[in-house]
């Protein structure tokens, strides 16, 4: 199981929990499982085509990757807003 760590507002949409133990061999699979368990996250990290949104960053063990990035047992996925997002 990989561990997905979330911050607000994603944490709040995922039952208020920051850490989630989830199965999956890729970032996309792990995040789809997060959506399945917490439907309120659907569409927030991945778009409807399963792509990580352009202004969201996913790090696996500290390395930035996208939806097709490999995930191993006990890997840590951090989901963070990108500095390129938001509005002035």
């Amino acid at each position: 199981m990989a561990v997905v760590t979330l911050r607000a507002p994603l944490r709040d949409r995922a039952g208020g929990e920051a850490n989630h133990d989830l199965p999956g061999a890729t970032v996309g699979e792990v995040l789809r499982e997060l959506e399945r368990r917490h439907p309120k996250v659907t569409g927030w990290i991945l778009d409807e085509q399963g792509r990580v949104r352009p202004h969201v960053n996913v790090f696996v063990n500290g390395e930035r990757t996208r939806e097709d990035g490999a995930v191993g047992e006990a890997d840590v996925l951090q989901v963070l807003p990108s500095i390129s997002g938001g509005y002035a």
Partner: protein, 356 residues
């Protein structure tokens, strides 16, 4: 009291006030702080509020509630089908339909979504989407946007939609088939030899006159038009306006000859002409226009009013009008534009204004 839904670059502001007093409206609540609220509306049939919201990080979505100061619920969709390689970019408009429970959403990239359960679930209109894939639909400066949705009172299967920049699309069978209507629309931004037959038509706004539903008014990219044949052909009515360029348009639901526009200088200078904010009204279907500005900024006011930032309620001499600018200011009138007052100042840049 009037309740005003003001979408801004920094959330939804719900204002409340009495336009007959000429005093500023109070902020009742602010929702979606930090996110762009492109459009907000209250479906007067059910009392349910809807907002099209885009997070700069987490993308666009439709949310609804019965109490805008309470919790908002995320709708299921609009979303493009998996495998379509297309992702929702923005919600441009949410429009109640004619049949019970039906609402429409116009989005970018240009597509129409329909809900049959009061906005809780949304489905892509596939036939129009196939037209978009088969045709050469090009984006305007604001993206490829389906932003105008004109229902026909008493005819739930008839709809006209406006797309920037792919013209007018009309269905009479509930969205199963679509045809275009563009005779008379002149894309002056195209070389003369390429204008004929092109669908690169930058519709900025379109409204139907409910008491004469075959009539539509359109703010175009550099012109204002009227159609008296359900959108099949269009006649320029820009004569008498300081400019043909602008974005919003409002009609008087009780007067099929009445429309309001807010001209801007031109596409290369999208501010109010001569430093004055003026709403222009016709009461003779566009033969003549009257500038309305008593109480509006008239000195060094170089303002931009966006496509959905002009709303109204009521009709005739007591029609209430509300116009918002990217300066963050909102002005209102309780007498069809005869007199104006500052409904609120110094909000975030205004993207939409609708009366609840």
């Amino acid at each position: 009291m009037t309740e005003l839904l003001v979408g801004t670059k920094k959330g939804l502001f719900v204002l409340e006030g009495d336009p007959s007093t000429g005093e500023s409206f109070a902020i009742v609540t602010r929702a979606f702080a930090g996110d762009v609220v492109e459009y907000a509306i209250r479906d007067r049939r059910t009392g349910r509020y809807f907002a099209g919201v885009t997070s700069g990080f987490y993308g666009p979505r439709v949310l609804f509630t019965d109490d805008p100061a309470g919790e908002w619920q995320q709708a299921e969709g609009p979303a493009f089908p998996e495998g379509s390689e297309t992702s929702l970019e923005r919600i441009w408009r949410i429009e109640p339909g004619v049949a019970d429970g039906v609402l429409y959403a116009g989005v970018a990239p240009a597509a129409l979504f329909t809900s049959t359960d009061n906005g809780e679930h949304w489905e892509l209109n596939e036939p129009l989407w196939k037209e978009r894939l088969a045709g050469e639909w090009n984006p305007g400066a604001g993206g490829l946007a389906l932003h105008s949705i004109c229902t026909w009172p008493g005819k739930p299967d008839t709809l006209a939609v406006g797309v920037s920049a792919a013209g007018v699309w009309i269905t009479e069978d509930g969205g199963q088939t679509w045809r275009t209507g563009y005779t008379g629309l002149v894309p002056e931004y195209m070389p003369e030899e390429q204008r004929e037959g092109t669908n690169a038509l930058c519709v900025h706004n379109m409204h139907r006159a409910p008491l004469r539903p075959e009539r539509l008014f359109m703010q175009f990219h550099g012109n204002v038009y009227r159609s008296d044949d359900e959108g099949g052909s269009w006649t320029s009515i820009r004569e008498g306006l300081p400019s043909g360029f602008g974005f919003p348009l409002v009609i008087d639901p009780a007067d099929p000859d009445c429309a309001y526009v807010v001209p801007l200088v031109a596409d290369v200078d999208r501010v109010t002409p001569e430093g004055k904010l003026r709403v222009h009204r016709t009461r003779d279907a566009g033969v003549t226009w009257t500038p309305l500005g008593d109480g509006l900024p008239s000195d060094e006011a170089y303002l931009t009013v966006l496509r959905q930032a002009f709303g109204s309620t009521g009709e005739g001499a007591t029609q209430e009008l509300y116009v918002g600018a990217t300066s963050g200011d909102v002005w209102g009138s309780g007498d069809a534009g005869g007199h104006w007052f500052a409904a609120h100042e110094r909000l975030a840049p205004v993207t939409s204004v609708r009366v609840a």
